[in-house]
């Protein structure tokens, strides 16, 4: 038993729903009590999907236990088939149904429906959402993919995008455009937008692009083993990674990457080099998210914006090794945990200037008065913007530049702040309007006056460091002494 305040991932059947909802022509019959229907709102409210997820819940009740639940499941499956006429049925159990052991797969098969039935067993007391998505997609691929002549070298599948994924919709558009410019044909994109019969055609591609390893790697690895298809695992987030990605796919497909590389439309490199960005140099960032997004964000932060990565971590235990390796590269130790409180403690300890994380970290950052940008699931409705905003490819890098730099005070803006320092609304103490006010310790006059002498663009930090120092040393007020003791303690 584990005390949990907030969870980064839902249960594994929510992962299965992300796959089923992304696909067409597939219906998921889930043996589950009524409350589990909450999961629909993730798709209809947070992602603003205009359709209900293709999920039928059996919604068994206590009075059904010990007798009718199996019958209930069979009826639900039969009615779902008749009403929705899907190409295939996915069947499984949520956490409660797992305990009553009705065997949805066996029950559904016994119905003798004229369509394929794919059972997925998702151990709800061990595994979580991303694992559930990967396993479901893998089971579907196993069930439907047929070995075939791979056809031309320059033809690939794109694997991994799901419903409720962080910017999946726009990433797919971006990567499809990029591949098209390279002259690479796309055979199947899955699960997003694919039907079961599309999965049957997966074998017609020469290689698979694993856009989201969390959800697509398991299926892609199986395809490599069974069909001998190639696999691209580089996640094209950031300019450098996108270039690497292009090199890799071009080599596999036997195409010339130079037309795309020569005219890439990437503004990030110049924006980062322009003098205004001097203010970004060495900003201390803390990165946390799913494994792939966290690793990618750390690289962009360090190589493409000149930040210092002071913390890196993930809640995806399946990718702990990769994240540890990446962290070692920055000379830090990875934070591998799905305990929100542990992440909060780490951020509090490190006092970064920017947090790149999920909505969970956004809330931590808000509370601590630190700037933040969202780079990974879990998300809120605001992370599904109306405008085109991929994370991948060159345009994705442009988007990243804007969204990460925005929360930090831009250099130019800092100059303006200096000029208008005395303006009541515009002075440096006002801070960003979205940041919470948090001033527990009393500063005496002399210390306060001294603080004013510190250059305004580091003043906020000096104040925070001093207060933290005072708190750590059990001081109740801050004097001139404290200010300088703290300065000595933290250096800078």
């Amino acid at each position: 038993m584990k005390l949990t305040l907030w969870t980064y991932e839902g249960p594994p059947h929510v992962g299965a729903m992300r796959v089923a909802t992304a696909m067409e022509g597939l219906h998921y019959v889930l043996h589950a009590p009524q409350g589990d229907t909450y999961a629909d709102l993730l798709f209809t409210m947070i992602e603003r999907q205009s359709k209900r997820p293709p999920v039928t819940y059996t919604t068994f009740q206590a009075r059904d236990l010990g007798g009718d639940t199996a019958e209930l499941f069979k009826n639900a499956a039969r009615e779902a088939y008749e009403r929705f006429k899907p190409q295939a049925l996915l069947v499984g159990a949520s956490c409660t149904a797992e305990l009553i052991q009705d065997d949805p797969g066996g029950l559904a098969r016994a119905l003798g429906l004229p369509i394929p039935v794919v059972p997925v067993e998702l151990p709800a007391y061990q595994k979580k959402e991303n694992w559930g998505a990967a396993e479901t997609f893998y089971q579907l691929v196993r069930a439907f993919a047929v070995k075939a002549e791979p056809g031309p070298r320059a033809r690939c599948n794109i694997l991994g995008p799901t419903a409720l994924g962080f910017r999946h919709r726009d990433d797919v558009t971006e990567i499809v455009n990029l591949l098209t410019h390279l002259g690479i044909a796309i055979n199947v994109i899955a699960p997003l937008g694919a039907t079961p019969s599309d999965l049957a055609r997966l074998g017609h591609a020469a290689f698979n692009i694993v856009l989201y390893p969390e959800t697509g790697l398991q299926a892609a690895s199986w395809l490599s083993r069974q069909f001998g298809q190639g696999m691209v695992k580089t996640v094209p987030i950031g300019v450098g990674a996108t270039r690497d990605f292009i090199a890799e796919v071009s080599a596999l497909a036997g195409v010339d990457p130079s037309p795309v590389l020569d005219d890439d439309g990437a503004r990030l490199p110049w924006y980062s080099r322009s003098v205004d960005s001097t203010y970004l140099t060495g900003k201390r960032v803390f990165v946390f998210g799913d494994g792939s997004h966290a690793i990618a964000a750390a690289r962009v932060a360090s190589e493409e914006l000149g930040f210092s990565v002071v913390g890196l971590g993930t809640y995806t235990r399946e990718f702990a090794r990769e994240v540890r390796d990446a962290a070692a590269h920055y000379g830090i130790e990875a934070t591998i945990t799905d305990d929100y409180l542990e992440v909060e403690a780490k951020i509090t300890e490190l006092q970064p200037e920017l947090v790149l994380g999920s909505q969970m970290e956004r809330h931590i950052a808000k509370r601590l008065g630190i700037s933040c940008a969202v780079i990974s699931a879990p998300m809120h409705v605001e992370d599904f913007p109306a405008r085109y905003s991929p994370q991948m490819g060159f345009e994705g890098a442009n988007v990243i530049f804007d969204t990460w730099v925005h929360p930090l005070m831009m250099g130019l803006e800092e100059h303006l702040l200096g000029m208008f320092r005395e303006d009541p609304e515009f002075h440096d103490e006002a801070g960003a309007s979205h940041l919470a006010e948090n001033r527990p310790l009393a500063w005496d006059q002399a210390a306060e006056k001294e603080l004013k002498k510190i250059p305004f663009f580091v003043r906020g930090k000096a104040r925070r460091n001093t207060e933290r120092f005072a708190a750590d040393h059990g001081l109740t007020g801050i004097t001139l002494e404290t200010l300088y003791d703290a300065k000595a303690h933290f250096g800078r």
Binding site: P33, Y38, T44, Q49, S50, T59, E79, A124
Partner: protein
Amino acid sequence: MTSSTALLEERPVLRERGQREVFCGLTGIIWLHRKIHDAFFLVVGSRTCAHLIQSAAGVMIFAEPRFATAIIDERDLAGLADANDELDAVVTQLLQRRPDVRLLFLVGSCPSEVIKLDLSRAAARLGRRFGPEVRVLNYSGSGIETTFTQGEDACLASMVPVMPATDASGLLVVGALADVVEDQFTRLFAAMGIGPVRFLPPRQARDLPAVGSGTRFLLAQPFLADTARALEERGAARIPAPFPLGVEGTTLWLQAAARAFGIGVSHVRAATDMAQERGRRAVARYRAELAGKRMFFFPDSQLEIPLARFVSRELSMNVIEAGTPYLHRQHLAEELALLPASVALSEGQDVERQLDRCRAARPDLIVCGLGLANPLEAEGLTTKWSIELLFTPVQGYDQAGDLAELFARPLVRRMRLAV
């Protein structure tokens, strides 16, 4: 009451048993933890349970919420760990973190019930260990036992046995209300000369009201069957009344209390005239927009029937169907007597069939859960999410206009938008 019960017997109710599209009782934690300021709700359940509360709470992550989940894992199931020891350890950890907590609810879930984890024994054991500073109670919010608002019922019912005893006469208002609404009612009862008035749930655990044979209670919410029964077992008597939604509902609710305390109608009128007038004016603003509009309620909070009564009688709307997850015939007798005969009633749910009926009827406004709202909007229908009716203060005279506005706004939005 006999006549209205008889009336109900004649009234056809469509009973459905199919897929339900409603939350489970755990959801109540979201408003209950805001209401009882020093209570903590520990769900003993699965990752699904944790995810449900977090997703339904939506969107607002509070500083540190006073709810959490003790997530059962495979070790607990395989018997490798003693689930009771594990639970004790989690509670110890929790109470160390939150020394401000005075009342801890262990909240049962589907998994804890299926594996037969005895939370009442656990509550007694932990109560001995952490009491008297912290009182430990338990109830079930599981989806196999409770639907949405029934979680509040189960929570309040769990407090009844530990309420202090009294023989003194007094009024108890039962059901979580927003603090501002409580304060308004307190003033009105005082003006009418009814007192003392206490509320369940209290804002602080130590303020748990006393109960006994002199207690008469008014239900402020229609979904409190178990709580009412438990109070009756403690000798309290329920005052039958409609619910305080809308001006009419509020007046009848207050009048019922006055009658029970032997206070004359003129007294009630004197105390409430101004507020009634204000409420009527506020509601009238929306009647023009809403009159004649056709409405459809999906079953969700059990507030559907009182709301259907309000919109029919005070806003002149036509309710096509009022669905409720559970129809408590006795507690709703007064409501049903006021509800126009043209309103079709349904109990339980088969969501696909109900959607078929709803689409065929093409109502102007649909009250439904969060999972259905956007898909229906995408079909060109207009919706109002029912969960907002639990999060927003809607009871009493001064909220009657706000309640009407909740229904008017989606229609206004649809009218304004030209895209």
